[in-house]
Symmetry: C2
Subunit: 372 residues, 2 copies
């Protein structure tokens, strides 16, 4: 059922199988979606230099919970202020909020395994905080999380026409690299970073250490994504694999996120090939244009049937330096900001534009920073 | 805005302010609802003789988790078989399932505080298992549960036209009696039981002991429902007060359940008088006709603006003795079976009848018992 008549609005672009993307888009255009964000901690993020998703290595542990609190209640309880990267660049949750508020898409938090727990209602998956991947046994309760995620995906698919799945897990590009190396879908370090100075050498070294600690060589766990996650992943991953697979067997799914979610999609493609063709990645042009990573090459290595739909939001003309920084290579993705934006455009049949999203981000940002 | 033109279908009856009930019904007739069931444990249920919601006092602790598992996955993981009362009478979750399956109303489990945790996705409220009320300090994290419940109510109200709130908490009529005595809305023991032999003397004695242990006299906590719950309630209560209040400020709420939920409604009426007029109780004719309790007199003591809408489901002609037992005074309510039935009738604009519900219960019961 190829909808050759489907026209992409200017706000969206596609990489990969465009017909596949348009076929899915045509089925959910103007329909009712739901957004989920799976928050989790991995102590990997506290290794100095790994993660910029927080003002200091210690504060990266608070970022997922704080993101969840911002989305649900518009303010943080677990920490003062909002999560920032060093330099004061605000969390991408600002764009996620803008998309969700403009579109009225309902949203739920999923706790994949947090050390710092958000002070909001969340779906519990039975997960706990992940250990440093260099231990070689990074995640507990992997199967339980996957199974509960699958049930949650089924539940959400009963109630909505499409499901957006996303994450906030500091340190998550490093764990994604490790899992994709263990699975053999990635041979080199192509993952992104929330900093324009992607610490690629450090990440590659930690991943090599992690694989050695787990006693596995690259590609050894090609057929066992859950085992790869248990050894060197993070607790966001098994929950999201489950949610995507459980939902996508009956409704289309938008996998919101950047290279962190590639490991999740690789897991879904391996464990549930039957749902490939019923989901696409939803992300931002910032991520797609990152010179220090390659979302495109990563996805080319996973499947040629998982297209990428990205939103062309542009902060170049923003009056706020913290937002302009997104154009300089900071942040780029996270908290499902790309997926939520793509979802909002879909639900509104393209009525919501990139300009609307930027205006709403400015309004929210002014409120949060007390500029009004 | 009184809708005098609204005609009740035969499947439903009303007690109390009929105009109020019809006004709310007319606003949600044919609209999209969501069902929640808050599961929790109180060790009060393990006091021999208190609760029949389980084959033995120890098994009453497994009943809430097992009910949640049945609703979500159609089978139990935490125990073998399904929860039964002594004598093999099946959990009211069978009727809840029938209503939810017939209507396609989406449903979510809320964990108010379980010792035995269901193996399904649930919204966590930060609660823990309740202690015996005779300790005088029965529930921890009461304010947190209430606040997270309030947020959850707001979230659900964003996505649905009405919200059904319910419970599975063995021992809950005893804790309800204690809280309503502490609040002074009940002067005598009018609460129900899942057994036709309501152990009223035992319950009254335990409640007197509980109030003494807490150092309070009847009516002392008229203005502080959360304190009453902390002393002598159970962990289902603060979560449900929050959900009802958070949802009912914007959409109508059906409070599904019997005398257990009266304590919750008393709490809502005291803490959030602004939402009275936007919710009603949804229950069963079995409960309304119970000669050993008086839902009517309890509600008369709480507010004259909270009508009761009850479903006229009748198991008299059922070929299964376990179901006929409902007509003899067993079970009567629980797991939101009344609220879910009322909700299914509302969403279908009365197209779903009591006969449809009974047929579906028979089909599910045969499947569960392996009769097919």
């Amino acid at each position: 059922m190829i909808m050759t008549g489907f026209e992409l609005p200017e706000s969206l672009s596609v990489y990969g199988d465009e017909e596949q993307a348009k076929e899915i888009l045509s089925r959910i255009w103007g329909k009712r979606g739901v957004f989920t964000c799976t928050v989790a901690n991995t102590r990997t993020s506290t290794i100095p230099g790994v993660s910029d998703a927080g003002d200091t290595p210690e504060l990266t542990m608070f970022t997922p919970a704080a993101d969840a609190e911002i989305l649900v209640s518009g303010k943080t309880t677990c920490m003062k202020g909002i999560p920032i990267n060093p330099g004061g660049i605000p969390t991408p949750a600002t764009l996620t909020m803008a998309a969700l508020r403009l579109s009225s898409i309902p949203y739920y938090i999923v706790n994949g395994g947090c050390e710092i727990v958000p002070y909001v209602p969340y779906f519990d998956m039975g997960g706990v905080c992940g250990e440093k991947i260099t231990t070689g046994h990074a995640v507990k309760n992997v199967r339980q999380e996957y199974e509960k995620g699958y049930m949650l995906g089924e539940m959400l698919a009963k109630a909505y026409d499409f499901v957006i799945v996303s994450e906030s897990c500091a340190g998550g590009t490093t764990t994604a690299l490790a899992v994709m190396m263990a699975m053999g879908v990635l041979k080199e370090n192509l993952v992104s970073s929330s900093s324009p100075k992607n610490p690629k050498e450090l990440k590659s070294r930690l991943v090599a250490e992690a694989l050695e600690a787990a006693g596995i060589k690259p590609g050894d766990l090609a057929d066992d994504p859950l085992k790869a996650i248990e050894c060197v992943g993070d607790p966001m991953m098994p929950a999201n694999i489950g949610i995507i697979a459980g939902a996508a067997k009956s409704v289309p799914v938008i996998v919101g996120g950047g290279t962190q979610m590639a490991a999740v999609m690789a897991g879904v493609a391996k464990m549930h090939p039957e749902v490939v063709g019923n989901f696409f990645q939803g992300t931002t042009r910032w991520l797609m244009n990152d010179p220090n990573s390659s979302m495109k090459r990563i996805m080319d290595g996973i499947s040629d049937r998982i297209p990428i739909v990205y939103v062309n939001v542009d902060y170049s003309d923003s009056p706020y330096e913290g937002l302009q920084a997104y154009e300089w290579g900071f942040i780029k993705e996270g908290v499902g900001c790309g997926g939520a934006s793509v979802g909002a455009i879909i639900e509104s049949k393209g009525q919501i534009t990139c300009a609307d999203l930027v205006d709403k981000v400015h309004e929210l940002y002014r409120g949060i920073m007390g500029f009004d």
